[in-house]
């Protein structure tokens, strides 16, 4: 059985080759240090969702000012990231968690993962965003889930753009709307909440029945809805109406192939057609770097980061002192009357609502 020895050699060689080919990190990337030396920078780990983004320069400024290294741990979409934080709460993977929104807020607060922190910057944030009176979760940004429409389609067909939720159920808009499954997509869930806020817990299912009979298309997530079904995006799908965000028109301008003067899509901003989503940051219980974590929260609520956010993540700053970039003021509009529901009510009914919705729309 000398073969085994050969295999051992082969194995060792394979491991060696693997080790040599270890993934290359960009030179600017923060590297994890297990034990920070007194003089070296302290590493602060921030757990967040896949959509988190920020400018190099802004992050570097924080690192320099505080002699710190920021390490980001991305953990799937907002729901998955939160569940990861909850499941690892006994030995936390990070110091700060950013990205829980008002639809998940109660789950986060009930799981007791946050350390309260009354940041001095909260004074610049309007009260409507501060949903946790104990300041365990602090509002960083907001945006509205709205319906986007394909401008060219409605112009060509000479069809008026629907203005209300009721309009969408009319026969002239048959099979024009694509939405996301609330069981697998937060965007879809938020739109479901808008209809519940508008029609009430007793009326929303009847509304969805009429939508279903009016040729509603349901897909699993935002990417599929926007890029394969929506006719206004580059995917050139079949539906001219999609459940997306009020900032999407601005993003279409920023990310146009050739500079364009007008976005090809618009948002429907009628009463309750949009639902406000607010995202929060919080310090995770058990952090070894409480002071630094507090500084990072201040930094996220501060003007520099708040002004960087819109073009990175296409969300609005909560800090009233932060100025919006031009594309936002020109092409993205805030709805006058977004739909709102109490996070505690959402947490209590979420699963039942999704189940009832599935029974009506998917079966």
């Amino acid at each position: 059985m000398r073969i085994s020895r050969l295999i051992t050699i082969f194995l060792a060689a394979a491991l060696l080759i693997g080790a040599c080919a270890a993934p290359a990190a960009p030179s600017v990337a923060p590297t994890q240090t297990a034990l920070p030396t007194p003089s070296g920078p302290v590493t602060l780990t921030v757990m967040t969702h896949d959509s988190f983004a920020a400018s190099k320069e802004v992050i570097a400024a924080f690192e320099q000012q505080n002699n710190a290294k920021l390490s980001f741990l991305k953990s799937g979409d907002a729901g998955a990231a939160l569940n990861r934080a909850i499941l690892s709460k006994d030995s936390p993977l990070a110091d700060v968690f950013y990205g829980v929104d008002n639809t998940f807020l109660s789950r986060a607060l009930d799981s007791d993962i946050y350390e309260p922190y009354a940041s001095p910057l909260l004074s610049s944030i309007p009260a409507e965003f501060k949903l946790d009176p104990q300041n365990r979760a602090l509002p960083v940004d907001f945006g509205d889930v709205c319906i986007n429409y394909d401008k060219a389609f409605f112009a060509q067909k000479n069809l008026p753009i629907p203005q209300t939720l009721e309009d969408l159920a009319k026969p002239e808009y048959h099979s024009m709307l694509v939405t996301e499954n609330p069981a697998t997509s937060s965007t879809g869930l938020v739109f479901l909440l808008a209809t519940i806020a508008h029609f009430g817990q007793n009326g929303y299912l009847d509304y969805w029945k009429t939508l279903r009979d009016n040729g509603l298309v349901v897909v699993d997530g935002w990417e599929a809805a926007y890029y394969t079904n929506f006719s206004g995006s580059s995917g050139k799908g079949a539906q001219p109406l999609v459940v997306s965000y009020n900032s999407s028109p601005a993003a279409e301008v920023v990310y146009a192939t050739t500079p364009i003067a007008e976005p090809p899509i618009g948002s429907i901003l009628g009463k309750d057609t949009c639902f406000r989503q607010i995202e929060f940051v919080g310090i995770l219980k058990g952090t070894q770097h409480l002071a630094l974590a507090e500084k990072f929260v201040d930094f996220m609520l501060g003007v520099k980061f708040q002004e960087d956010m819109p073009l990175q993540m296409f969300v609005y700053p909560t800090n009233t002192q932060a100025k919006l970039p031009d594309v936002f003021t020109k092409f993205a509009q805030l709805p006058a009357q977004p739909a709102i529901l109490d996070p505690a009510v959402i947490a209590k009914n979420r699963d039942a609502w999704i189940k009832a919705w599935s029974e009506v729309v998917l079966k």
Binding site: L6, L11, A24, A152, A238, A251
Partner: protein, 568 residues
């Protein structure tokens, strides 16, 4: 033999290893499986049971289980059958004939395997969607008002996507066995008066049975645990067990139900593997495998030429055309004048590729394409090395041990829910030295768990086909065990080793779920970079995603080509 024994007597440590090699040989892959598979999975089940006891069990369990289970089995059976219908003739043609462009065709048919589902959804939409190439052509040709093909979000599209993804498994595994069949047996049967159909049924198929069974099992398990295809192409009306686990575990945080569903999924895998082992027990008579290339020749006569051309055309239409649509879309500008609402004037452009090198928003998470490709390749190489070494140890161990139980063990990772395993990794690997945050090795480890069943299934039938008499003959002629392995085992297994290497390599290159979970944001792979573009609106993001997907295909294609060439 006496000489060897005498030498071993003088080296007691060597003798010790030689004697007990059989013991620790199978311990290593088992340890690997235990640490990285059973331990995290056990942690999830433990937690699920705890939650079930503390929070009670409220849902109507049977209803939640039965429906997805039935659908999962049904679609997996159909998909596997269809994959075999396409894969077996393709394997035959590629194994028996040489023709111009064969190598390229072989590489192209492997590419679907690596594409992330979201990219496949985009490709299918570009081809089959309401405004896809085919519908537009049909509408123009027959002057139709509405697109005639309505396949999006149907069971048909799920099946098509599964065939698209998995045909390469059949082509690679069965094809490699087919090219090594001893053709003299078939020739002898023909000489003795058997019709070609009779030869196929009574000689060729029985001889190919182990590899066909192995390929079917792998394809079935892949379809059985299908997730992205169901979600993205089937739409929300269809739910497999894996989709249900994902929803329950990550969206609803209903761990008890998610745990129960994954346990059922694992149980089904175990059952299937046991059935497979029983079927595989009836080994055909051991035959001397032939060397590669012996039986291949150019097609002769119009019938054979038609067969080869027809098969190539079918493969191109089904497997390659979506890839081509994707690559074409990545160099097409569709929205130049959209802002002005004029007619779309399509033009060719390399803008999307150029943009890949520009960090437009100065984001900290920007990754240049070359670096994403390097990360992907590094992970893929590490995965290939790890799964091949573990796989080799495992198949040699299974040859000597009572192997049936181990076989089932090594198939289990394929039937395990990726979501559940991901949760397990979080639960157990959160402190040094095995820390999700600082241990980049967890990515190739997770990929290897998926690749290992492929390696084992590919290597094992070939290893078993080597008759003992061949080794004994070599030993009698004075070859050392090492030389026997080098000159008997290895040449026979070389093709299977190549197939395993290509499969593990491509599995790692295209994997997204575990990578996004375990990889640090500074080491993004190509699929992760594709997702980053697709998560923001804008024509440029869409174009860059397609450009990055084309880069992924190119990187994979070139790598496979190199591996194919190296083995010749």
């Amino acid at each position: 033999m006496r000489f060897i024994a005498a030498r071993d007597d003088r080296r007691p440590i060597g003798a010790f290893f030689t004697r007990y090699a059989g013991v620790w040989l199978w311990l290593l892959p088992l340890l690997f499986l235990g640490l990285f598979f059973f331990y995290p999975l056990g942690a999830v089940f433990h937690l699920a049971i705890n939650w079930a006891f503390t929070q009670g069990w409220s849902v109507d369990v049977w209803e939640q289980v039965a429906h997805p289970l039935l659908f999962t089995v049904w679609q997996a059976l159909l998909s596997t059958l269809l994959t075999l219908v396409l894969g077996l003739p393709a394997a035959y043609v590629l194994a028996r004939y040489t023709f111009p462009g064969k190598t390229v065709l072989q590489v192209l048919t492997t590419l679907p395997f690596i594409l992330p589902t979201i990219v496949v959804a985009v490709a299918f939409n570009a081809l089959l969607g309401p405004r896809g190439v085919i519908n537009v052509l049909l509408m123009q040709a027959f002057n139709l008002a509405n697109p005639p093909l309505q396949v999006m979000n149907t069971l048909g599209l799920i099946l098509l996507a599964h065939v698209f993804y998995n045909t390469t498994i059949v082509i690679r595994i069965v094809g490699s066995a087919w090219s090594q069949l001893d053709q003299r047996l078939e020739q002898a049967a023909r000489v003795l008066g058997a019709s070609s159909t009779k030869v196929a049924w009574e000689v060729t198929l029985p001889l190919l049975r182990p590899s066909i069974l192995a390929a079917s099992l792998l394809v079935f398990l892949f379809d059985f645990t299908s997730f992205g295809v169901i979600l993205l192409l089937g739409g929300p009306h269809f739910a497999t067990l894996e989709v249900e686990i994902y929803t329950q575990a990550l969206q609803m945080l209903n761990l008890p139900l998610a745990g129960l569903l994954s346990a059922i999924q694992l149980l089904c895998t175990l059952l299937l593997t046991v059935v497979y082992a029983r079927l595989g027990d009836k080994q055909p008579i051991p035959l001397i495998p032939r060397l590669q290339g012996e039986g291949t020749r150019p097609p002769r006569g119009w019938r054979q030429k038609l067969l080869v051309a027809g098969m190539a055309a079918v493969l191109l239409a089904l497997l390659v055309s979506p890839l081509a649509a994707l690559a074409l879309r990545s160099v097409t500008r569709l929205d130049a004048n959209r802002g002005e609402r004029g007619p779309v004037i399509p033009g060719l452009t390399l803008d999307y590729y150029r943009q890949l090198f520009i960090n437009q928003q100065d984001s900290i998470f920007y990754v240049p394409p070359v670096q994403a490709a390097r990360n992907s390749l590094a992970y893929a190489l590490a995965t290939t090395g790890l799964s091949l070494s573990m796989g080799f140890l495992a198949v040699y161990a299974m040859r000597t041990r009572s192997r049936r139980w181990m076989e089932a063990l090594f198939m289990l990772p394929l039937g395990a829910s990726a979501v559940t395993l991901g949760l397990g990794f979080i639960l157990v690997f959160n402190r040094p030295p095995l820390d999700v945050r600082s241990f980049p090795w967890l990515v190739p480890v997770a990929h290897s768990l998926v690749a290992l069943p492929f390696v084992v299934r590919t290597l094992q039938p070939v290893l078993l086909s080597i008759p003992g008499s061949l080794r004994q003959a070599a030993a009698v002629l004075g070859a050392s065990p090492w030389r026997v392995w080098l000159e008997v085992d290895l040449p026979v297994m070389l093709r299977a080793v190549l197939v395993s290497a290509i499969l593990s390599f491509t599995i790692s290159l295209g994997e997204f779920g575990a990578t996004s979970f375990l990889a640090r944001p500074e080491y993004p792979t190509l699929p992760i970079a594709i997702f980053r573009f697709l998560s923001l609106p804008g024509a440029l993001n869409y174009g860059q995603a397609l450009a990055m997907a084309t880069v992924l295909m190119a990187v994979c294609g070139i790598s496979i080509l190199i591996m194919d060439k190296m083995s010749v």
